[in-house]
């Protein structure tokens, strides 16, 4: 059993060991080992030519990563908090995914951008977003979100090995959670494949990041009430694994989305819309457990009232079972 945070560090370590073109760029990640300790020891192990402390210039070093990737390297960029991604939106959303296309496939940009996001830390309105759906309208970027330590390891390894730009989100409140993690070059997650975190027959709950954990907690509680919940860790927001969800819903006939984000513009509404347009038959209308439309305050009772709780998820499941 190792922590989610350590799983990230091991994924970086194993990827760097497996491929010498992999290098890391980010703020305070080299000598200091990273603000979230996700790079501890890597600077010492791989040296100053593979682990770079950057200035505070996200758009600039994401663009630098693109230049490195176009010329044969495989950079992994760390964006400390998801909320800092907007400073680098041009490089990440407008440049990384488009240069290959505009060149008619002459080049490629194997860049991994990792960001830690999510609430619960009482960090307030500018350092608590998950950011997971911010890039959905920017086609060309793959987007992954880690719902478990194994996911943190496998998704990051998959992203680094992938030949196109991938943004990988993790959740700060998961960093110290422990879980089984199997390492190895054969343990890369499959790009675009959701994971059934808990099989069940009555209701399908699709979640990401911390919500996967809370959905599993809700499922345990509901088991005692005789409700058998299937929990799907969506894992990839692009490509979005509609098939796995559709197959599950075809069995359960009931769908609940658990997301730490607003409903409009998120992957949850994309999924519900895709099932609706596909005419997937449901025994009850789907329910989206999302964040209420308020900004995130650092005040504990308010943050707790905003981030979907295990109870809210459980209630939503009960509501679709009535």
């Amino acid at each position: 059993m190792i922590t989610y945070r350590e799983a990230i560090r091991l994924a970086l370590d194993d990827a760097m060991a497996a491929d010498e073109t992999v290098l890391l760029l980010g703020e305070d990640i080299a000598k200091a080992g990273g603000p979230f300790k996700t790079t501890v020891g890597l600077y010492e192990k791989y040296g100053a030519e593979r682990v770079f402390d950057t200035p505070i210039a996200e758009n600039g070093f994401c663009g630098i990563a693109l230049g490195m990737a176009l010329t044969g390297l495989r950079p992994v960029v760390e964006i400390m908090f998801s909320d800092f991604l907007p400073t680098a939106f041009d490089a990440i959303a407008m440049e990384l995914p488009r240069w290959r296309f505009m060149s008619g496939g002459q080049t490629s940009a194997p860049v991994t951008v990792r960001a830690s996001g999510g609430g619960g830390g009482r960090f307030g309105a500018q350092t608590s977003s998950t950011g997971e759906s911010w890039f959905l309208q920017f086609y060309g970027l793959m987007v992954a979100a880690a719902g478990s330590p194994q996911g943190a390891y496998g998704l990051l390894r998959a992203a680094i090995a992938h030949n196109n730009p991938v943004v990988v989100f993790d959740h700060k409140a998961m960093h110290l959670r422990k879980g089984p993690v199997v390492r190895g070059d054969d343990r890369l997650a499959e790009v675009g494949k959701a994971v059934v975190a808990r099989p069940g027959a009555d209701v399908t709950v699709v979640a990401s990041l911390l919500m996967v954990h809370r959905s599993l907690e809700a499922a345990e509680a509901l088991a005692d009430e005789g409700i058998d919940v299937e929990v799907i860790d969506i894992s990839w927001l692009r490509p979005l694994d509609v098939d796995t969800v559709a197959a599950s819903v075809a069995r359960t006939g009931r769908l609940v989305i658990a997301e730490e984000q607003y409903h409009d513009g998120g992957w949850g509404s994309a999924l519900i819309s895709r099932l609706a347009t596909a005419g997937a038959p449901l025994a009850a209308p789907p329910v989206a457990v999302s964040m209420p439309e308020v900004l995130i305050s650092h005040s504990p009772p308010l943050e707790d009232a905003m981030i979907p709780s295990t109870e809210r998820i459980a209630d939503a499941v009960r509501s679709v079972c009535r």
Binding site: A57, G121, L295, L302
Partner: protein, 319 residues
């Protein structure tokens, strides 16, 4: 520039002591579990804020950052509102929405302290434009860190501020580190040059001052303010200082060379001003008096009610 009056000097000393005691108190209540999230403390940096804000007019605007406690207190924020905000209470300066990183009082001209590095620099430039367009004897005072000088917003804002003669004064509080990284490891400059040298890229005036000396900071900001109001353009001031604590609550500051902290403490801003105005003897008395105020304010703040989600909703949009 007219030299500061004895009363002014005395009040700055008291303000710096207040900031020091308040920050120590923040640490104390943090340990007691009264402070949600994290805190970015400023012990050691008192002179930069107190000296600079001492040069401002009542109508001037102030922009700072998540490391903004000293600016709020130097600007005269109510102590209870200060502590209550940091504790996330409805009675806080920002109704508990902002927390330690966003303790502002608009009635004191404090219009923002973003957590995003560099984000306040263009905003201050815009406020300075309002003053210029209205022909007011008013400036925007913008504080930020050494690390902020490498992000695009710094460049874009300084260029437009100079181009349009915005009535803004920029103050880099160079506390030697951006998080855990020494500024020279992230900031390309001519050998030995100060960060303020970057102003020359825009033909902008600049100054480098001893950030531990409130009087020196005051003089430099007073000159810059006069220049801005006269329509002669902004100034980039670098106040060289040091933060005694780590970057944020969880940082022990392991990356600092041995002895560095002590060397800086030798030049403590409170001691320097006390000595200059011959008030060394008065420091203990001031400290005792202010400690009581701080303790009482923090105690009252801890009684404050929590905000409700309905209140929060009301804060998102103006009518």
């Amino acid at each position: 520039m007219t030299a500061p009056t004895p009363e002014a000097l005395r009040s700055w000393l008291e303000q710096m002591i207040l900031v020091r005691l308040a920050e120590d108190k923040v640490m104390e209540i943090y340990m007691q579990g009264l402070v949600p999230g994290t805190v970015h403390l400023c012990q050691g940096q008192e002179a930069a804020s107190v000296g600079a804000i001492g040069a401002l007019g009542a109508d001037d605007w102030v922009l700072c950052t998540y490391r903004g406690h000293h600016h709020a207190l130097a600007r005269g924020m109510d102590l209870e509102a200060f502590f209550a905000e940091i504790m996330g209470r409805d009675s806080g300066a920002c109704g508990g929405m902002g927390g330690s990183s966003y303790v502002v009082d608009a009635s004191l001209g404090m219009i923002g302290s973003p957590a995003i590095i560099g984000a306040g620099i263009p905003v201050a430039t815009g406020a300075g434009m309002t003053a210029r367009l209205r022909g007011e004897d008013r400036i925007a005072m913008c504080f930020f860190g050494d690390g902020a000088c490498n992000i695009g917003a710094f460049h874009e804002a300084l260029n437009m501020a100079q181009l349009w003669r915005s009535q803004v004064v920029f103050c880099i509080e160079n506390n030697q580190y951006g998080e855990y990284t020494p500024f020279r490891d992230s900031t390309a400059l001519p050998p030995g040059a100060p960060i303020a040298h970057r102003a020359t890229a825009y033909g902008m005036a600049h100054a480098v001052v001893d950030g531990q000396d409130a009087v020196a900071v005051h003089e430099s900001v007073a000159q810059a303010r006069a220049r801005a109001v006269a329509g002669d353009g902004p100034t980039l001031i670098e106040a060289q200082t040091y933060r005694y604590r780590g970057h944020s609550r969880t940082d022990p500051g392991a990356y600092r060379p041995a002895g560095e902290l002590d060397a800086w403490k030798e030049r403590d801003p409170i001691g320097i001003l006390a000595e200059r105005i011959g008030a060394t003897g008065a420091v203990d008395e001031i400290r005792e008096r202010l400690q009581r105020e701080v303790d009482e304010a923090a105690d009252r703040a801890a009684e404050g009610p929590w905000p409700t989600l309905e209140q929060a909703r009301g804060y998102v949009f103006a009518d």
